[in-house]
Amino acid sequence: MTISLVATEPKPKGVKIDMVENAQMVRGTTLLKRGFAHMQKHGVVMDVTNVEQAVIAEEAGAVAVMVLDKLPYDVRKAGGVARTASIKVIQEIMDAVTIPIMAKCRIGHTDEAHVLEVVGVDMVDESEVLTPADEERHIWKWDFTTPFVNGARNLGEALRRIEEGCAMIRTKGEPGTGNVAEAVAHIRLVNSEVRKIRSIYQDSDKQELMKAARELKVSYAMVEETARLGRLPVVNFAAGGITTPADAALLMNLGCDGVFVGSGIFKSEDPAQRARAVVLATTFYDDAKIVMEAQKMVDEKKSLLGMDTKNLELRMQERGQHA
């Protein structure tokens, strides 16, 4: 198999079997959910809040759009409680573009997620950008036919989310800040944690691997599979603070499978051009000449000004970290 099916629940409720004419069609399997994420690889998912932005994103070559009520930068400014986007807006966007639609629900808010599934979004993002509904438990995602993406700051968080049934990981940065530093820190951390268990695996030291599983608070099978693969067993995108084409290339070169761009595009003053440039740099991340071409397409004076991530009142990345 080219896709790892590790941690799949024995009989997940999200799997549906229908007989259609002469064919048995099975939906919601781990292969289909993780497979969907694999189709997004090497791509850019762009945050959008309305149809106009979604159309710009699609024309620029976004691999999917993420619908939310406010861009993370505005969530930060507005304060209050951030919830899932208006259904009407999500539906309008679904009717306007052909690429996949993702939408965010609050951490632990199973019913917002059910609503998004019924609306028919292609992937649900259980996201720390919105105000968590349940600090103790994330959604049990095996109950859904629709795949989920979750944020993670370290290997333990990532593997716990996968055990709950998520099909894709976003390495968290600090959303809405225009500062890529936190995203870089977390992908580096995940990489080094994976390297550590990989070397234990190569030494065939099962006892030490078991110890690692206990520290990460996940099953032995999950740690063993991750160590064997030498990477997360699902697709891993970078997110949070990506503003320029070179930011995207930096994260791709650190081993991410693709990137999410939130405020970086539609809070800039050159969104259409910048969107195309970020896609170009993500596709050709290992070719400095083309990344330069991409960087040339944007004007630094039009970038989201951004903020220092050290003195923030709200650190979205810490939401849900203990679960």
């Binding site: 198999m1 939906r27 997004q40 090497h42 070559g61």
Partner: protein, 213 residues
């Protein structure tokens, strides 16, 4: 075979989508067929000239055809296919190869297509991701045993030209076709863990490289 002959090279179009999955499925096929060959990513026009066969992976076809840097490679791919180079497109890859594509909901799209494969594509023909499915297919050219079709926001073929052979159907929808050196599948053989489709393709590439040697 003379010792000077270069070994077989299969390319995988490396812009966006499940590129690595096709690389590993092709490597598995080479190994099972005991063929000495290598698999390379193809991203620049000059790469296209170096391969004996090219796989267009799954992903998002709008993205795969969007950027100018990508569009520079498309005419070269078109030319090599016309010269007989075997090509296989899975899902988005088949859309790229087709003559015309329209979306089930949005209608005709502005996508730039390669266009060698004489079919019309209905994009997202089975619906959105929650309608994605696995189903067993009967594909005569791969033998009697059923082939697991992995359909992810899959397209279907709504019209076929006279030189196009239908190789798989599901409930009256055409889901795989062959036109001489071109194979197109609406599903993802690279994800099914069954390398028969990739083996079939490797064999076509072997024949082509012998002929052109």
């Amino acid at each position: 075979m003379s010792s000077k002959k270069k070994s077989l090279t299969i390319g995988v179009l490396g812009f966006q989508g499940d590129i690595e999955e096709n690389v590993s499925a092709t490597k598995q096929a080479l190994q099972e067929l005991q063929i000495d060959g290598n698999v390379q990513l193809v991203r620049y026009p000059e790469d296209v000239e170096k391969v004996d066969g090219l796989i267009l992976p799954g992903g998002e076809s709008t993205v795969q055809s969007t950027l100018a840097a990508i569009q520079r490679s498309l005419p070269v791919i078109k030319k090599r296919i016309s010269e007989g180079m075997p090509v296989m497109g899975t899902c988005a890859g088949m859309i790229m190869l087709s003559k015309r594509a329209y979306d089930r909901v949005v209608g005709d799209t502005k996508q730039k297509l390669i266009g060698n494969l004489d079919i019309v594509i209905e994009r997202n023909a089975f619906g959105r991701q929650s309608e994605s499915f696995e189903a067993d297919l009967s594909i005569g050219m791969l033998g009697k045993e059923a082939f697991k079709g992995v359909f992810i926001r899959a397209p279907a073929v709504s019209e076929v030209g006279k030189d196009v052979e239908v190789i798989a159907k599901l409930n009256n929808k055409v889901v795989a076709v062959r036109q001489k050196n071109i194979i197109g599948t609406a599903f993802h053989p690279e994800l099914s863990g069954d390398s028969r489709m990739h083996r079939q393709f490797v064999k076509m590439a072997v024949d082509f490289s012998r002929k052109s040697a």
